[in-house]
């Protein structure tokens, strides 16, 4: 028998799977078999590495080399050069976007180097389907410590001292919620993990549930012990099949080890967890709607004169926390509250995971200390704006968050600062927009999303959103009227005051924040009937500059409505009356002769 000399850590996150990661696994297996290396090199499918734009990703240990954007045809060379002869295949390494230099190890890539991995501590290092690998990384040691050495009150005190706030959006103090639930009268108590991540462009919770499911489960068991709960639910949306699969496997394994069920680790404490799959309604991420959904009713929120921590599931005290919040709990127990609070800001301790998407060079999942500036996240970790374009705004907090402009890039990111700017932390989505983005169109896009997702129970949200959409559509189509902006603001105010839940209360954010920071764009649409970013199709025209046109005919070929005329050596012309403004000619023109005005 031979010892294994190398672990090939293949990213098995949804992103890397979508770019062909599992096909790569089969090819890699076959190639290792062919070269007689199967028994000395082990393929380990790990959770998401976070560098999703460059998948599939393979990390080779012990050499600590990271390969990105692998294709099946690269595998034979990789095996014969690196695995057999020990020569790193340079062309498959990450290249610095500016210096174009190849970077062999993860720690040297700026995207990874400036992150602080706590919640994502096991990222890319363990096989999420193997409970032993989680245990090997200190897993369940916090649970053992909590059950053996700490009373429920001591645990809540420790969490309180750590300053941990809910990572799902609201930023409510976790310990306060736990204490209320613990002291509320009730025959049974419940804990819930909210994995109903619904923001477009957000995938933080999915990554944790897929890549390190035991960290969430361990946090929940500790929380349940502190609160006195006997039953837990993990609410995951159906669109996350891999998260459901990995969580289910993790629960089965934890049960087999006696870490769930009766008399956990001989402590006398009993607790079990069930997975509840949601249908994917955005509103079900709201705590009271989520609980309705678990009970088999339509997912609608209720007024919270009485908190769900007192009367939640089946009118029993119920504590709900987000995936990331739960995953922080074992760390606080193991390392103490002082360690946890050692990074972050005064009001927001610890780290936050963000999904950084949109117009940045490095799209992916990042975990950073609270208090880091937006500029550091976007430029240092995100590698700046794609194609050397200018930064325009960053949208934080999902569809009901707000857009933050360039002048506030140096704002430290924490719960309170983002709220001050008219946005919010939300669950951690971060969409970066460049100069080619029309802010009115962005507001319309998010409102369009929310119109579909509003449950319709309360009037301000249901009707307010519909009127928002009508007015915004009218503005982007050049039919905007004087006074529309003021009307939008008035509707928004009404929604903030009158809505039943946080969805309606925060839904005006995309509109209000774009009006606040980009009022000039609204005015240009309404008064001049112009779209400054040249996005809104009804407000732009296409023409070809005869000076720069080389009459190559490329635009003529791609035009779907044949509105471009011209012959060899004759500059081409667009017939504006037929043009549908699809941008196809603009995209293909080799000399940028197609102009949008």
């Amino acid at each position: 028998m031979k010892a294994v000399r190398s672990h090939l850590l293949l990213c098995g996150g949804t992103g890397c799977r979508a770019s062909g990661g599992m096909t790569l696994k089969d090819i890699l297996e076959a190639e290792l078999e062919k070269r007689g290396l199967s028994d000395e090199m082990k393929i380990v499918v790990t959770g998401c590495n976070g560098f999703c734009a460059l998948g599939p990703i393979l990390v080779v240990q012990p050499d600590d080399v990271i390969y990105v954007s692998l294709k099946p045809k690269d595998i034979p060379e990789l095996v014969s050069e690196h695995f057999i002869k020990g020569r790193i295949v340079k062309r498959l390494l990450y290249k610095h976007p500016v210096t174009k230099q190849e970077i062999p190890t993860m720690q040297q890539i700026p995207f990874f180097a400036q992150q602080e991995l706590r919640v994502l501590r096991n990222r890319g290092l363990i096989d999420p389907e193997k409970i032993d690998e989680y245990i090997g990384r200190d897993g369940y040691s916090a649970l053992a410590k909590a059950l053996a050495e700490m009373t429920p009150d001591q645990i809540i005190d420790e969490v309180e001292k750590s300053g941990l706030r809910g990572r799902g959006g609201g930023g409510f103090l976790t310990a306060r919620k736990w204490r209320t639930t613990r002291s509320a009268p009730g025959a049974v108590r419940y804990v819930i993990c909210n994995g109903d991540e619904g923001d477009p462009g957000a995938f933080m919770d999915r990554s944790v549930m897929e890549g390190d499911p035991h960290s969430v489960i361990e946090g929940m068991i500790i929380g349940a012990y502190a609160i006195g709960a006997s039953k837990g639910y993990i609410y995951v949306r159906m669109e996350y099949p891999l998260a459901v699969k990995n969580l289910a496997k993790a629960l089965t394994d934890a049960r087999a080890y006696g870490l769930l069920g009766d008399n956990i680790l001989g402590s006398g404490f009993s607790f079990d967890i069930e997975i509840n799959r949601g249908g994917g309604a955005f509103i079900c991420g709201e705590s009271s709607a989520l609980m309705q959904s678990i009970m088999g009713k339509a997912g609608e929120p209720r007024a919270k004169y009485i908190h769900t921590s007192e009367k939640g599931l089946w009118d029993m005290p119920t504590n709900l926390n987000n995936v990331e919040t739960w995953a922080n709990v074992p760390l606080i127990i193991n390392h103490g509250s002082a360690w946890f609070a050692s990074i972050g800001t005064k009001g927001s301790t610890g780290t936050k995971v963000f999904s950084l998407v949109g117009g940045v060079n490095n799209v992916g999942l990042v975990e950073v200390p609270m208090g880091i500036t937006l500029r550091e996240i976007i430029y240092d970790i995100g590698g700046g704006i794609k194609d050397d374009k200018k930064f325009k705004a960053v949208q934080t907090g999902g569809p009901s968050g707000g857009c933050i402009p360039a002048e506030h890039l140096d704002t430290p990111v924490d719960f309170d600062e983002l709220t001050k700017l008219g946005s919010m932390m939300g669950s951690g989505g971060m969409i970066v927009m460049d100069e080619d983005t029309c802010m009115v169109d962005v507001a319309r896009y998010f409102i369009n999303f929310l119109v579909d997702e509003s449950c319709g129970k309360c009037t301000p949200c249901r009707e307010g959103l519909r009127h928002f959409l009508t007015i915004l559509t009218r503005i982007t189509e050049g039919q905007g009227q004087e006074g529309d902006v003021e009307l939008l603001e008035e509707i928004g105010d009404g929604m903030i005051w009158g809505s039943l839940c946080a969805l309606g209360g925060s839904a005006p954010n995309p509109v209000m924040s774009t009006i606040k920071y980009f009022r000039d764009e609204y005015d240009a649409h309404i008064r001049d009937k112009k779209c400054p970013a040249r996005v809104c199709t009804k407000l732009i025209t296409f023409s070809i500059d005869p000076e720069t046109c080389i009459a190559c005919g490329k635009c003529k070929k791609v035009c779907p409505v044949n509105c471009i005329t011209g012959a060899k050596k004759v500059p081409h012309v667009i017939d504006e009356s037929i043009c549908i403004r699809c941008r196809a000619c603009y995209e293909v023109c080799p000399t940028d002769a197609v102009k949008i005005r």
Binding site: R5, G86, G136, L265
Partner: protein
């Protein structure tokens, strides 16, 4: 799988940490077999095989094995470098499977026996590492 105690939890942790030492980069030593064309031609592959068999046999999974390119001393291949944390690297030249077995035992098995007998394996390992630093 059957229910475990807190004690067994710790044992699983130590076992996995030892098994996966190469993944976490925390081995007690790194043995590099130079596998350039010259190395392979003079039998480096057999040296590597013998090393892997020994590691498996002695369950010494915290000895990390690496393959590397030619170092430029082609006539002395196969070359093997042993690097222990905090110590200067040791180069062995003109290796063959038998020599490799001997070197492995001298470095990782015999010295193990000469160390004081440990109470808890994890702790004594820690101690050794800091000593050598």
């Amino acid at each position: 799988m059957s229910p475990i105690s807190a004690d067994q939890l710790r044992k699983i942790k130590l076992k996995i940490q030892n098994e996966n030492a190469l993944r976490y980069g925390v081995g007690r030593a790194k043995v590099t077999v130079h596998m350039g064309t010259c190395g392979i031609a003079s039998g480096a592959r057999d040296v590597l095989e013998s090393l892997l068999v020994d590691i498996a046999q002695y369950k010494a999974t915290d000895v990390i094995v690496a393959v590397d390119d030619c170092v430029g001393l082609c006539e002395r291949e196969p070359l093997v470098t042993i690097l222990k944390p905090g110590q200067k690297p040791i180069e062995y030249e003109k290796m063959n499977p038998d020599k490799m077995r001997h070197v492995f035992k001298e470095h990782f098995i015999v010295t193990e026996i000469q160390e004081p007998v440990e109470g808890e394996s994890g702790q004594s390992n820690e101690g050794k590492r800091s000593q050598s630093n």
